[in-house]
């Protein structure tokens, strides 16, 4: 049984006088204990909303509706009352955010922010909490942790701030970590360090990790299973190797083709996916990607495409997928 099993998760934002937005529209995926699962897609595909919904962090107000189920070790996270959900957050599931500077309180020293979690969930206090906090900082690779504890977020470099946030997230040894674009706000060398750190933490502690990113390079290096999201639905899901060797969905192919390549000739242009995320067909009227798709056929419009399973567990949501045997076609 998987650690987290998300079934038909949907999130809609309704506002009077405006069309209801289906930010997440029936996303299903599962995460096994110790597994690294990637959620990939461009801006607006519903990655972050998915993670916020799982954490119960979407604003509680009229107009925000969450549906489906998210079974975490026997309890449905989406049905949990706010009080119990608060106990789960930080203790069983923790999250790492995109922008480490704005995710840390600017007027509170790092040490207090790290100990806060320990006090809240592990009932530690005073010296014990401070000592543990220093050990946590040390574990995530921050040198001279006792001094750093007294410092404010703006005194740390970007990479170190992200390390501090990671330390806070892993403070209670959660069983599931959700990393929402954890490297986007960092420069490339620091990105590599942070990914290395996350990998190490996952390997050492057996924590499961949901890696949310738009960067296929990141998932290629880390994830065991990859879910590609488009317009609020999973369009392709596969083990890492299968996905990179035998991608089937035109959107996945387009994503991979648009990555800059080291072996590309000088002056060779990148291959973008045409159109923009706004050119979306509602899923109820066919494939949402159809308006941007080169392999579009008559069958794409009319009714929503279903997930096509294969015997390897590789699934894709497309009526006219790339054939399996010719991955070179992807480079067109």
């Amino acid at each position: 049984m998987p650690l987290l099993d998300v079934r038909d998760l949907s999130v809609t934002f309704a506002r009077r006088g405006q069309r209801t937005v289906h930010a997440v529209d029936g996303v299903s995926f599962s995460v096994d204990a110790g597994e690294v699962v990637g959620l990939v897609g461009e801006s607006g595909c519903g990655k972050s909303v998915t993670s916020l919904a799982l954490m119960g962090l979407l604003p509680r107000q009229r107009g925000v509706r969450v549906g489906g189920s998210a079974d975490f070790d026997g309890t449905d996270l989406l049905k949990l009352d706010p009080r119990s959900m608060r106990d789960v957050r930080g203790r069983d599931i923790a999250m790492i955010f995109q922008d480490p500077l704005s995710s840390l309180n600017p007027v509170v020293p790092i040490g207090i922010q790290v100990t806060e979690v320990l006090v809240r969930h592990r009932g530690m206090s005073g010296d014990a909490a401070r000592k543990e906090a220093a050990e946590l900082l040390d574990r995530v690779g921050i040198p001279d942790p006792t001094r750093r504890l007294k410092e404010y977020p703006h005194q740390l470099s970007g990479g170190m701030r992200q390390r501090a946030l990671i330390a806070m997230a892993v403070a209670c040894r959660p069983r599931l970590l959700i990393a929402d674009e954890p490297t986007t706000a960092l420069d490339v060398t620091i990105q590599a360090q942070i990914l290395e750190l996350l990998k190490e933490l996952v390997r050492d502690s057996g924590t499961a990790l949901i890696m949310i990113t738009h960067d296929l390079g990141v998932v290629a290096g880390m994830c065991d299973t990859i879910n590609v999201l488009y317009a609020g639905r999973v369009v392709e899901t596969a083990r890492r190797k299968e996905l990179f060797a035998g991608r089937r969905h035109p959107y996945t192919v387009g994503l991979l083709a648009s990555i800059p390549r080291l072996d590309a000739g000088r002056g060779e242009k990148l291959t973008p996916i045409r159109g923009s995320v706004r050119d979306v067909l509602p899923w109820t009227e066919g494939c949402a990607f159809a308006p941007r798709c080169d392999r579009r056929t008559e069958a794409c419009v009319g009714e929503p495409p279903a997930m096509t399973p294969t015997h390897t567990g590789h699934e894709f949501r497309c009526v006219n997928p790339f054939p399996l045997s010719q991955p070179e076609e992807a480079r067109v």
């Binding site: 806060e116 979690v117 620091i190």
Partner: protein, 323 residues
Amino acid sequence: MTLAPGRKKEKLDRLAELSAVHDDERGVSLWQEALRRLRRNPAAIVGAVILTVFVLVAVIGPFLVPHEPTDTMGIREGVVKSGQGLIPGPSADHWLGYDHQGRDEFSRMVVGARQTLLVGIVATLIGLTIGVLIGGVAGAAAGLGGRWGRLVDSVLMRIVDMMLSLPSLLLAVSVAALLGPGLTTVMIAVGVVSVPIFARLLRGSMIAQANRDYVVAASSLGVRESKIAISHILPNSLAPVIVQATLTLATAIIEVAALSFLGLGNPDSAVPEWGLMLADAQPYLGIRPELAIYPAVGIIITALGFTLLGEAMREALDPKLRR
């Protein structure tokens, strides 16, 4: 590239150290940074100097005054010596001359400074405390409390709106009329008038903070809403309130003087207070206009000092102007 795990760790450590070096300039907190910027602003310096002098005069001045501010006996000698009529002007012995009851004007100005400062500060503190309580509760409720929170917020803010819709001097006069004249009345009246400003300001700035990433990050770690409001949102929302408190001190001093002038303050003129001195000087404007000018100038300069410092603090603490 394959490295042994140990060497890899070493390499990472070294990288982390390298990235730590360039931001190692000794860090400063928000307030230290603001102080540094204040020191570079000439308006702030002027304001600070004025206030330092004012506070020194108010605190130690009354122990050093050349004459008792209540002594009316010295006047006989003064009238004879100066030959300037019944309210003699400045002399070597009485630097600002006598007031209409024959008391030393300079001593009264100095002792009056203490009264003015005390009443101004207490009034501002009253306004600040009530305002921060109302604004803090409303801001936290609106920012984090869901549907019930928004209700609490609406109720509190409508009360504040009602206070805000009354002209401040009228409100002060009504409070004073309700409680009877006296210094306490004046302090409460002026304090109550400044409540809405503090409440609105703090609530607005807390709501703005409630959507910030670090608040979401804190709640993603399971931190309780009450704790988030007090230890994360509140400290980030206080800067504008502190600036407002400095500016309110200026208006409080003016309003205190105004209420005393209107006769709502301490009616006993034995305790000198600038507003009261101003009122007392009124009948003698034709003979000795200086008697009105001294307290007026005192009020203006102190208010100016607080305003200059307050404005400079606002600039120093404004993150948008930060370089």
